[in-house]
Amino acid sequence: MRKARLGVFKFTSCDGCQLSLLNLEEELLAVVDLFDVAYFREATDKPLRGTFDLALVEGSVSTERQKEEILNIRDRARYLIAMGACATSGGLQALRNWASLSAYKARVYPSPENVHALSTSTPVSDHVYVDYELWGCPVTRNALSEVLVSFILEKKPALRGYSVCMECKRHGIPCLLVSQGAPCLGPVTRAGCEALCPALGKPCYGCFGPKDDANVESLLSRFRLMGLRSEECRALLDKMNTYAYRKVQGENRS
């Protein structure tokens, strides 16, 4: 039987999600057994050719050229999976969506005229149809493995859309928000990390972005009642999933 052709593509990102794939360790050998890894710049130097059964896309769309590239990949791919906060939400670099690109460029680069970036950084789903989104900064091995297995078995992947709180409770972690008044994003954040931060006594930072039907506005109202200023609330959201959280917050308000 012909092996399925797998392509791994990178847009604007830190490569961390591709590394998560390489970090599958013993399962990585199985990936090579099960798939024809036809394009993966982080691991092989095969040129981009032909079509793909499965395309894993890391990174956000943040240049004019990338807008073309993502259309090209979509055309070549039967299934397209966005992996990681950059690809699902625009990433940390989407902070510029709420600021002036030219001001940023001037502050960071000695020759800002050489930087050809769009004024916004956006998720893959803003540009093309995405079959599944794997959230997280970075994605987890479990989610990657689940989506690859599901492709082979032709089933829907079991991905989590509920809150981090559900994982806290499964693990018996005492709630930091209720028992310490910590501003935890867990109630509006997608599960998947097995409540890594709360397990270590730290409130959730929102690496996995908004959960299904998140109510960001209500949680922030709660934080304001607990004494947080509006800027502090905004700072909680303005990390790698800023674009997704703020979009949801806007929807909650309307």
Partner: protein
């Protein structure tokens, strides 16, 4: 039923008797919260601690209280032990020729469990879980394996939290049945009531004295004080109809605007039992030459607040938070009554305390029940 007095210093002896025959699970403070865990000795109880609870707030404080049991319930309940959050009911393996399904028997317990200082609401919750898992046409044998032989040492509640409303639900603060032994903490000792043969047997060799009428009066007075401290009420007699009459009440949407849909209320609820299941197959397993696939079924606690919970082929019949909140309350306080003849809520107050935005089920019910003329 004869009542006995157990002096406070002899509680240790009762504990040792239990420990000899059971794995004793009881309240243990960790990370600022009273949890449930195996108790090695009595001194690990959070003695002298009070739990200050309110909607969305919990603080455990060492107030140096003279009473041993001056705290009440934390987020955990017996549910975690009898109906664990993660289970693997069976494994499967398919080769070209056949499909093997193995459903391993739950590993035999070395010792049955004893729940130490279980509160009346949780004794009631356990009875409800029994209805669901054992008295239904399909018994859950994993539940049964842990449930069989369980010892229940109940402690009546004299220091209810602000969120407790067992009195309104008629499950407490005094345990009525379903326990093996119950204790009420008096000034000088514990008033002991025996609820079963097992309870009587465990007292063998533990020094006790006959309780006097004065002890009984002290118990009654303390319980009465406890009842009067519980301010929340529930219109039990109006249920379930009052909810069915107000399915389109504007309050549902108001609450949905606050509700995070996080599911905490259902996870801490001692009677919420819902799960989701999926089959876990690993890449390594798929790549094996001799098997086509293999893996295990995973059963996880889920919640009717999860958007996907009501997704079925072709759609989702509860897409709004309003529909999900309403469904949760109706299940607890209406459908349960229709199905089992009793509400699915025991008044433990956990969903009030552990809701990050402090939504209070009694307040919601009151708002809906109060306006009888609103649709």
């Amino acid at each position: 039923m004869s009542q006995l007095i157990l002096w406070k210093e002899d509680l240790q002896q009762l504990f040792h008797r239990l420990q000899a025959a059971y794995r004793v699970i009881g309240p243990l403070a960790a990370d600022g919260v009273v949890g449930l865990a195996e108790l090695e000795n009595l001194s690990s109880l959070p003695i002298g601690h009070r739990d200050r609870q309110g909607p969305g707030v919990y603080r455990l404080e060492n107030v140096g209280d003279a009473d041993i049991f001056s705290f009440v319930v934390g987020p955990d309940s017996v549910k975690r032990f009898l109906h664990p959050p993660v289970q693997h009911p069976y494994t499967f393996r398919k080769s070209r020729k056949r499909l093997h399904i193995a459903s391993p028997r739950a590993a035999p317990q070395e010792k049955p469990l004893a729940f130490f200082a279980l509160r009346p609401c949780d004794v009631a919750a356990l009875k409800l879980l029994d209805k669901v898992f054992l008295e239904s046409p399909l018994k859950d044998r994993r539940y049964q394996a842990v449930r069989d032989g369980v010892f229940l040492l109940a402690v009546n509640c004299l220091h209810p939290a602000e969120t407790c409303f067992c009195h309104a639900m008629q499950t407490g603060p005094e345990v009525r049945d379903g326990f093996d032994l119950s204790l009420t903490e008096l000034d000088a000792g514990f008033l002991v009531e025996i609820g079963s043969e097992k309870g009587k047997e465990i007292l063998n060799g533990v020094p006790t004295a006959e309780a006097t009428a004065r002890d009984a009066a002290e118990k009654a007075a303390k319980l009465e004080a406890s009842r009067s401290r519980m301010k929340r009420s529930v219109p039990l007699r109006a249920l379930p109809q009052v909810l069915y009459n107000h399915l389109e009440h504007p309050r549902w949407a108001e609450t949905a605007a606050r509700c995070l849909g996080c599911g905490n209320c259902t996870q801490v609820c001692p009677t919420c039992f819902c799960t989701t299941a999926h089959d876990h197959v690993s890449l390594a397993c798929l790549a094996q030459k001799e098997a086509q696939w293999c893996g295990s079924r995973v059963r996880l606690w889920d919640s009717c607040f999860s958007l996907n919970f009501a997704r079925v082929h072709g759609g989702n019949f509860r897409t709004s938070r309003k529909a999900r909140y309403r469904h949760w309350m109706l299940h607890k306080l209406a459908y349960w009554i229709d199905q089992f003849g009793t509400p699915g809520c025991v008044g433990c107050g956990r969903c009030i305390t552990w809701c990050p935005v402090g939504i209070d089920v009694t307040e919601e019910l009151e708002a809906i029940a109060a306006s009888r003329n609103v649709p």
